[in-house]
């Protein structure tokens, strides 16, 4: 090795030591859980409420005495919407903070990059990423994904669209890992239902106008449009569609058409926009709890991270130890169909402490997972924007 190593170590160590001194001291008592969300970069609009939802659960549980008699410490890192920075942040969470789980990774690229660190170090990873490759990684059960995969959500969305009379659907998709997979599933499902998918225009989401893309897709003369977008680009797309005089049906994903987007656009531009998201039952207490933290229409990611932290804490309580492998083993056991139905962590913790079985269902759905960690059996809510307000159309 070269002589510069001691200097490097000294530099890094020098910066870190004052903070670490406190950290190691506290470690004996607290259970440490990491969040890794985008606070800056292209996903920056999504990270802050995700952490807010998790923070609320931790505060509530700590106020009620913690888990296994220990307080919970939530350590939040910024992945900068960048897998390179995400890996370094995850290393800090895992190697320095010694967290038992990493929650809330958003960009598929970040999730795929940090996943090997998690499974090698036996740390549980909960993600909201949509890329279908994620749960197919050799993760040995260390990944749980609360975002439905392309096939599940496409089947439900297409059934709904067909029900509303959509027959000729065109697609505008940001260049994401699921831009093509969602289109292909829709193509197949629409055909089976007597409709057709007439084209998929994939665009560069960082652009500030999509006039020519809109012209291209409207030339196909669709009766409905499916906008496979995120919030920042959907804002621009909806404006350009309105200007182009398109008044047909528009469908999009719940995380793109969130409250912030609806607030940032004039009501006439969002009028009639339909979005869908995985959902719990109507009147779910967990969902209501997220509403009190985030607002009347919490975005799907906040609901999902609310469930990430809830499942983590319940699994720790169920296993009786706070470790990655313990969460790994117990995360499915807290959804025991024979157990008492539970929607809040504090309530679940009490039952578990009394030695009872529980069946947790959360703010984003029933929280049941396939062996590879994909969500199953969740319902979807379809909302429509009317006069600048989101209204529930259907829950199925």
């Amino acid at each position: 090795m070269t002589p510069s190593i001691p200097r490097r170590a000294a530099l890094l160590g020098g910066l870190a030591v004052p903070f670490l001194a406190n950290a190691t001291h506290a470690q004996a008592e607290t259970i440490r859980i990491g969040t890794l969300t985008p606070q800056t970069g292209a996903g920056g609009a999504y990270g802050p409420p995700m952490v807010k939802a998790m923070r609320a659960v931790v505060d509530e549980v700590n106020a009620a005495g913690g888990v296994l008699g220990r307080k919970i410490e939530l350590i939040s890192e910024d992945d900068e919407t960048n897998p390179d920075a995400g890996v370094r942040a995850a290393r800090k969470l895992i190697d320095v903070n010694r967290v038992v789980a990493v929650l809330g990774t958003w960009a598929s690229a970040v999730t795929t990059a940090v996943a090997p660190l998690c499974w090698e170090n036996k740390v549980m990873l909960f993600t909201v990423s949509g890329g279908d490759g994620i749960t197919r990684l050799p993760h040995q059960g260390y990944i749980i994904r609360t975002q439905p995969d392309s096939n599940l959500q496409s089947d439900r969305a297409v059934a709904f669209m067909l029900g509303q009379g959509a027959r000729k659907v065109a697609y505008l998709s940001a260049q994401t890992p699921f831009a093509v997979s969602i289109y292909e599933r829709h193509l197949q499902d629409l055909k089976a239902g007597g409709g057709q998918a007439v084209g998929n225009v994939i665009y560069d989401a960082s652009k500030t106008s999509f006039r020519s893309e809109v012209d291209q897709v409207l030339k196909l003369q669709p009766d409905s449009l499916f906008l496979n977008s995120y919030q920042p680009d959907l804002l621009v797309l909806l404006r350009d569609l309105f200007r182009a005089g398109y008044d047909g049906r528009r469908y999009t994903l719940g995380y793109a058409a969130n409250d912030k987007l609806i607030a940032a656009l004039p009501a006439e531009v969002t009028e009639g926009l339909v979005s869908y998201a995985p959902s719990p039952d109507l009147d779910s207490p967990a969902f209501k709890q997220v509403q009190t933290v985030i607002g009347a229409n919490p975005d799907p990611y906040s609901c999902q991270t609310f469930d990430h932290i809830s499942m983590t804490l319940l699994a720790i309580a169920k296993a009786g130890t706070a470790s990655g492998p313990a969460i790994h083993d117990a995360v499915r056991a807290i959804g025991n169909p024979a157990g008492t139905p539970v929607t809040s962590v504090t309530e679940g913790l009490k039952l578990l402490a009394a030695g009872k079985e529980i069946n947790y269902s959360g703010a984003s759905g029933p929280c049941k997972f396939t062996p590879i960690g994909d969500i199953t059996g969740c319902k979807f809510r379809f909302d429509v924007v009317q006069k600048g307000q989101s209204k529930l159309l259907q829950l199925s």
Binding site: Q39, T40, G41, A42, G44, A45, G47, P48, Q175, V201, I202, Y203, D204, S206, K207, T208, S209, F210, R211, S212, E213, D215, Q216, Q231, P232, L235, V236, R239, F242, R243, A244, G245, K260, L261, A263, A264, L265, P266, E268, V269
Partner: protein
Amino acid sequence: MLIELLQVVLNGLLSGAQLAVPAIGFTTIYAVLRFPNFAVASHMTVGAYAGVLVNTQLGWPAGLALVAAFLVAGTVGVASDTLVLRRLRPSGPLTAAIGAAALGIVLENIVRFCFANDPRGFDLPVLRDWRVSLGALGQLRIGPQQTEAAAASLIAMAILFAFLAFTRSGRMMRAVADNPTLAALKGIDAQMVARRANFVGMGLAGFGGMLIGLDTSVDPLTGYRVVLPVFAAAVVGGLGSIPGAVAGAFVVGIGEEFSTIVLDPSYRTAVGFAAILLVLTLRPRGLLGERAL
């Protein structure tokens, strides 16, 4: 087919008009201070925030909000130059350019610290496009607001040209751009000219940033998203040349829109750069050459 080409050219002209204003700001600073000020992106964001805040909080109309965007971004430009970049300039243009990149990171994050990442929209209606019939050819689509924005760009450019041609400050700026040594010999106060160039340049960046914010939304990355095409426009036209920046903005704007019919729309940025490369291969100092301020 012809009508589609016309539509694409029209779309490109409207995007180009949007790019032109910040590109002029960037090139003005280059002409006077001789370094690429990469902080232009964050000043665009600052201007966009100034505009959206006076529009939504104080109820100012778009025209006045544009003036606010110009003034606030210009003031921030002068402040950041005085505090940071002025000290770096003697160490060479590249040190100043790198310092400006770091300054851009700082400004973006000051904005983020104050206003978080949520998008903000202007309190303005979105209007339907006009449809202009061209007889047998078909219909052209023209956005009233984009046309207004393009008109605002043209007005800003006209004011700038008048400022440079007819005012003492403007002439001093041109003198420094032409030959700083000679200007110093004539007793022109270089510091003062630098401040004015920064005020005008970053003010225009803020003005352009708000125009882009009107069309999209305002968040800490508003300026960053368009900064590459803005650089491209300035480079295609010839760094330091204001008419060049305008020409470059139209080349990049039209080039990008054209690419959507030739290639996948997802390659728009790449086509912008292919255009630059082509222009620069033929004319290594840009369409109109350097320092024609």
